[in-house]
């Protein structure tokens, strides 16, 4: 298959998630050194509140099937990535999660995300026709400063429930790690530059992953 643009190839790192400041929690802030105070001081409370609301608004848009509006949350050069996991012994634990550009459920740029959205809007995407009722629940939102100016790394956990057809239902849990940048020109004032979705299942027990996470 051909794609017209491919920002995913610009990243040469072995992981697509190099961002964030791993030392943020350990950094002393003035005379105060307890971890929580340090974490809270790392990010302006107004920004943290804004980003929390930003993620809550995003999943509402998903649950409302407003796919076109959902794309507004993402930068044009975004990466939407979901690696696979395997059962590995503890001594090989570093290999639980597949490396970037190996096994993935998603590895999308904005053009490719739009293709997936357009597919759902054909009214012939039988896996979601009639449409499912989905509920995205986001919690454990943690905002830390990113590496770049006006960039934040936001971790959150999700529980996504889907009811489809008369009796079918499934759910999936996982962790999202987002790299979000401030962009006053964007509809929400912020844009997701990169999202890593880590599903907790090693074998996906759902019949498909036809929505977004």
């Amino acid at each position: 298959m051909t794609v017209t643009t491919d920002p995913t190839t610009t990243d040469t790192a072995t992981t697509a998630i190099p961002f964030g400041d791993p030392d943020a929690a350990a950094r002393p802030i003035g005379a105060t050194t307890d971890k929580l105070t340090a974490l809270l001081a790392d990010v302006d409370p107004a920004v943290e509140r804004a980003l929390t609301r930003f993620l809550h608004e995003e999943v509402q848009v998903l649950d409302d099937w407003k796919w076109g509006e959902w794309l507004d949350f993402f930068a044009d050069d975004c990466l939407y990535w979901a690696p696979t996991q395997e059962e590995r012994l503890a001594r090989e634990r570093s290999r639980h999660i597949s490396a970037f550009r190996t096994s993935a459920y998603f590895e999308e740029n904005k053009v490719q995300l739009k293709q997936r959205v357009d597919r759902l809007l054909t009214n012939q995407a039988w896996g979601e026709e009639p449409p499912s009722r989905a509920r995205h629940i986001i919690s454990n939102i943690r905002v830390t400063k990113g590496v770049a100016e006006d960039e934040y790394v936001v971790k959150s956990n999700f529980y996504d429930y889907r009811s489809i057809g008369q009796r079918s239902q499934d759910s999936i849990t996982g962790e999202r790690t987002d790299r979000i940048v401030r962009d006053p020109a964007s509809p929400w004032g912020y844009l997701i530059k990169e999202r890593r979705v880590l599903f907790d299942m090693s074998i996906i027990l759902n019949k498909n992953l036809s929505l977004f996470y």
Partner: protein, 445 residues
């Protein structure tokens, strides 16, 4: 034992829904199909170094596949001989030995029992570790990078089992001097009978233009995934089937380019030195990629997703799908194949998502007594069946859409389910070659 001869009508192309639903028939499949057929266990690139292992299944039976110190591969049942615990619970890794987490019985790379805690003090002197090695898969054969295994000592050699399907399988896996390697792996569960999926790469190219219309609509024009679906208006191509239930179909005519892996891959294969290599390995007239299933569930799709499905009762299956690439291809070619597969034929793939829905509904409907007895139709002829026509071994039809390969798959299934030995099965298969003038019109089991 259920007599399934009443449930499969080869002559009239009719099947009973019971074969997809009935628990007793399923138990019979475990015995007659899964304990007898050749199943794909691993590829060299999955276990490259000595001590590398992976867990897989033959049917419902968990199997350890392990690279030995001498480079060979062995396979054994992943079940401790003491109390039946799984010996190894990791999907894959590298090991020197495997120790059961229940009472600590330890097995070496070949599956031989090497340590029993308290053997000297608590067991009688007559206890011999050699009597209690893990149950070995008795026959393992290597074919062009892949390792296959069967429980049945009397099964024909793997190449004979392939029969005329060998020609078509080679079209996928034997194109490259440097061989192939696995670069991605996906697993998911579908709530339906395993035969629904097996049937699709064996025969059903036609579902694509309906089931996958949404994906084909949004994919870029000129992309293979879009093309192979939208070509339904002019379905030039061929479908083939082989004696032991294998089958496949592809678009295009002899000598035509078969664009199954996207434009980057097409351009790569069109390079003179690459085209020369493929022609040297396969011959000039080989163009046979599309869908292929080696019975029961070793499936190859044209964009190099290769998969095995494992049955999980009559109502569920696990899909294990690997992405393969030519080992010597440039990184950007490998990456284009990998991304093509992940966006089309994984649980999040735009094609796969819609297949799942159909099969789930079909399975659920079979709960109905009337629905189960209504029966399914397999009467699409496509074109007359020819045998060993031109450069195409086996039975085939000069039409990409047909039910012939599917009904051949069920004819083989019927013969397997009603035969007590490979010898008996092979006799039946020889008599039941569909479309031959000498063949009795009806299959009497």
């Amino acid at each position: 034992m259920t007599d399934i001869t009443e449930l499969i009508d080869i002559e009239n192309g009719r099947l009973s829904g019971k074969i997809f639903y009935d628990q007793e028939i399923y138990e019979q499949e475990l015995e007659k199909v899964w304990k007898r057929a050749w199943c794909m266990l691993a590829h060299d690139s999955m276990i490259p170094k000595r001590g590398d292992y992976l867990q897989t299944y033959i049917g419902e039976d968990p199997i350890m596949v392990v690279r030995q110190k001498d480079g060979s591969v062995r396979a054994f049942l992943n079940q401790c001989r003491h109390r039946g615990m799984r010996i190894c619970r990791a999907d894959k890794g590298t090991a020197k030995a495997f120790t059961c987490s229940f009472h600590g019985w330890a097995y070496d790379l070949a599956g031989d029992l090497i340590q029993v805690p308290r053997q000297n003090t608590a067991y009688p002197e007559t206890f011999e570790r050699g009597d209690f090695g893990a149950v070995k898969v008795p026959r393992i054969q290597y074919y062009k990078g892949f390792w296959f295994g069967t429980w049945d000592k009397d099964a024909p050699d793997f190449e004979d089992y392939l029969g005329s399907a060998k020609y078509y399988l080679d079209g996928y896996i034997d194109r490259w001097d440097g061989g192939m390697e696995q670069v991605a792996f996906h697993r998911w569960v579908l709530p339906n009978n395993w035969k629904f999926m097996a049937e699709q790469p064996t025969s059903d190219m036609q579902h694509s233009e309906i089931t996958h219309i949404s994906a084909a609509t949004v994919l870029n024009k000129g992309s293979d995934a879009a093309d192979r679906t939208l070509r339904g208006n002019d379905p030039v191509g061929r479908q083939f089937f082989a004696d032991f239930g294998h089958g496949g179909a592809w678009y295009g005519e002899k000598g035509a380019e078969v664009p199954n892996t996207g434009q980057a891959m097409q351009a790569y294969e069109a390079q003179p030195e690459i085209a020369e290599m493929i022609a040297r390995r396969l011959g000039d007239d080989r163009e046979v990629r599309g869908h292929l299933n080696i019975w029961p569930t070793f499936m190859l799709l044209g964009n190099y997703t290769i998969r095995v499905t494992h049955p999980r009762g009559p109502h569920e299956q696990e899909v294990w799908a690997w992405t393969f690439v030519p080992k010597d291809a440039p990184e950007e070619i490998k990456d284009s194949i990998r991304r093509d597969v992940l966006r089309t034929f994984t649980p999040a793939g735009m094609f796969e998502a819609d297949d799942a829905l159909n099969w789930e509904e079909m399975q659920h409907i079979l709960k109905g007594k009337v629905a189960r007895e209504t029966g399914y139709l397999y009467q699409m002829v496509g074109a007359p069946i020819q045998w060993d026509e031109g450069c195409y071994p086996g039975g085939s039809s000069a039409h990409v859409f047909s039910d012939n390969a599917a009904i051949n798959m069920y004819a083989n299934y019927l013969d397997m389910m009603t035969s007590d030995s490979w010898e008996e099965l092979m006799e039946k298969r020889a008599q039941h070659r569909m479309g031959l003038p000498t063949t009795p019109a009806a299959v009497q089991a």
